[in-house]
Amino acid sequence: MTSAPVLALRGVSKRFGAVQALTDVELEVHAGEVVALVGDNGAGKSTLVKTIAGVHPIDEGQIEWEGRPVSIHRPQDAQHLGVATVYQDLALCDNLDVVNNLFLGRELKRRGTLDEVAMEQKARELLSTLSIRIPSVRIPIASLSGGQRQVVAIARSLIGDPKVVILDEPTAALGVEQTAQVLDLVERLRERNLGVILISHNMADVRAVADTVAVLRLGKNNGTFPVQQTTQETIIAAITGATDNAVTRRAARTTEVAQ
């Protein structure tokens, strides 16, 4: 991680009316890095993701893209930069097949008409490089299992050649085997040198694939930890705020006095 982060948030704040959703949040994502964004409900994870995705423009602070400050006002701005977001509700069309869903809104054309052959070819290439296994690229999404739909949704985000992929709780509703498939896919995204922001409540998933864990608590940063050198207890303590209790406050005060 020596190079500049592909995406960096510097002192980002967001306010909805009387609610201060985000306060001075910092976040860095490097190419080929999986950053897990964790926090309790209402900690601001979704808001933070939506500011990056362009759904909610930020009030204060700065978003840097490959070292340059950029402004993201609309979802199209984010897509244009190369941010792809896979939301929790997958946003696939049940009645269309896998190929059509992958290319929805970005169809390949040949002489003004849809080029089904090229799309199918590209879809197969993409799915096979990601080692995604589905019954057929020509069956409707309705026929796929929850895990298969999730991997199709993630694969779909890669069609536009993004540099950063945001996954909003990709394993929330999945079984053991399907979760494993999705986590495999997250690792493959990292191998493709993409920056990944993974929102999850599941510590086991986070520890399995993430390089860095960024903890949000009440709309503020509450620590960023390298996964390898951090215990699960430390992360959970940061999420729940267990680090901020009577004992720690007394300890902090003692150090202040000592200084």
Binding site: L92, L104, S128, I139, S143, D184
Partner: protein, 421 residues
């Protein structure tokens, strides 16, 4: 999954899961796959084909005159009018919406054409153009109120049903009926116009064209897919498909030639069906219609302007209603107060649904307008022949419509339970 994922990148795992039921080679494979599809609720045109055979046998056995060539002429001649309304409705049904105004818009369009071309003596082709534009504008207005203001399409078009009927009566004025002159498109669509003046070769030329272009299209695609290394349909399947169409086309041409030939109105209907089928399946506009019919939120996130699609689809429905109205008027030779007969609306909806387009959106083809109209016209002609009263006819048509919707609902449920919905 543990071992599979360790496969080196040089030998990528095929995207196709080997557990998938693959079709076995040969004819047995076809039969098996067909049975599996039907069991899974993917019934396609099966109910229509079975229904047609039952209808033809029932009427044919009770009255041998039913199999006379004049039956085919009658059906081919009366199909396009309401069939065109059904084509527009297929577009709307694909969005999962309904357009109840098509009957009234068709009646109004006939009246507008009659007033422009007959009363004011406007150039007939210019009058046709203006009429279709009027229909499209009315549809766009419905679509705009639905998409931008958020009034349910059912209510918007129900209001349109009444409003445009009123406007039609106002346009027709006190006389109530305007006889059409046999010029322009009106001549082309009327009962006096047959391909190559009803010459025997006309029907066969059309059949040869249809089969040749279908064979060219399907084998061309097979070649392209083979070259690109993606799965393609085997030659035997293509031959069977082209063969079935060829049999249908040549039998139809032969039977129609026994009588007066192929009506030009039918040719226009078929040409429009081919164009619409192309638009829906091969263009990104068509793909967007299916996407909006499947999942509105997903379409929006994919960058599709849902409002624009809705407005344009209702506009298409209005334009087809106008063209259908012109055809119906040409068939009867006059624009009259019965032009906005609500039965036309009901039959158009029934045709689309009987032909296999789902009322629930996202699933269907324009060809269902053709198949559905074939069923409805066959029943109507049979009932006329038995000289049954209107009351019985209404009851039978109502039951047929209900049966089609029941088949649609059951198919949808079966598709859900077998994971194909």
């Amino acid at each position: 999954m543990s071992n599979d994922t360790k496969t080196p990148a040089s030998a990528p795992i095929p995207a196709v899961d080997p557990r998938l039921l693959q079709r076995e080679a040969g004819l047995q494979g076809y039969v098996n796959e067909f049975v599996r599809k039907v069991r899974g609720g993917d019934i396609g045109s099966l109910p229509v084909v079975i229904g047609l055979i039952v209808i033809w046998l029932t009427f044919g056995l009770s009255n041998s005159q039913y199999f006379a060539p004049s039956t085919a002429t009658y059906i081919a001649y009366w199909m396009p009018g309401v069939g065109l309304l059904a084509v527009g409705l297929v577009f709307v049904l694909l969005l999962g919406e309904i357009d109840l105004s098509v009957g009234s818009v068709s009646g109004l369009s006939a009246a507008v054409y009659a007033v422009l071309a007959v009363t004011h003596g406007l150039n007939p082709w210019l009058a046709v153009f203006t009429t279709i534009l009027t229909g499209a504008a009315i549809g766009a207005l419905h679509g705009w109120i639905f998409a931008k203001i958020g009034v349910p399409a059912f209510i918007v078009t129900l209001a349109g049903f009444l409003v445009w009927q009123g406007v039609m009566l106002w346009v027709l004025g006190s006389t109530g009926t305007i006889n059409l002159t046999d010029v322009g498109l009106n001549h082309f669509l009327s009962g006096n116009s047959y391909v190559l003046n009803g010459d025997v070769s006309g029907g066969y030329i059309l059949a040869v064209l249809a089969v040749a272009s279908m064979a060219y299209g399907s084998f061309g695609e097979q070649a392209r897919r083979r070259k690109a290394g993606v799965p393609f349909k085997p030659t035997s399947e293509l031959l069977i498909r082209v063969g079935l169409v060829a049999v249908g086309a040549f039998v139809a041409a032969y039977v129609l030639n026994q009588d007066r030939g192929v009506p030009d109105a039918q040719v226009m209907f078929l040409a429009l069906l081919i164009i619409c089928d192309f638009v829906l399946r091969r263009t990104s506009f068509g793909r967007k219609i299916f996407a909006v019919g499947g999942n509105i939120e997903a379409s929006r996130r994919a960058g599709i302007s849902v409002a624009a699609i809705r407005i344009s689809v209702f506009s298409i429905s209005g334009a087809f209603a106008a063209l259908g109205g012109l055809t119906i008027a040409a068939e009867t030779g006059a624009a009259s107060q019965s032009g906005s007969d609500p039965n036309n609306l009901m039959m158009a909806i029934a045709a689309a649904v009987i032909g296999g387009t789902s009322l629930f959106g996202g699933r269907g083809r324009v060809w269902s307008a053709f198949l559905g109209m074939l069923v409805i016209s066959s029943i109507q002609y049979g009932l006329n022949m038995e000289s049954l009263n209107q009351d019985v006819e209404y009851m039978i048509m109502g039951v047929v419509l209900l049966a089609a919707v029941i088949v649609d609902s059951l198919a949808r449920r079966t598709q859900k339970s077998s994971g194909r919905g």
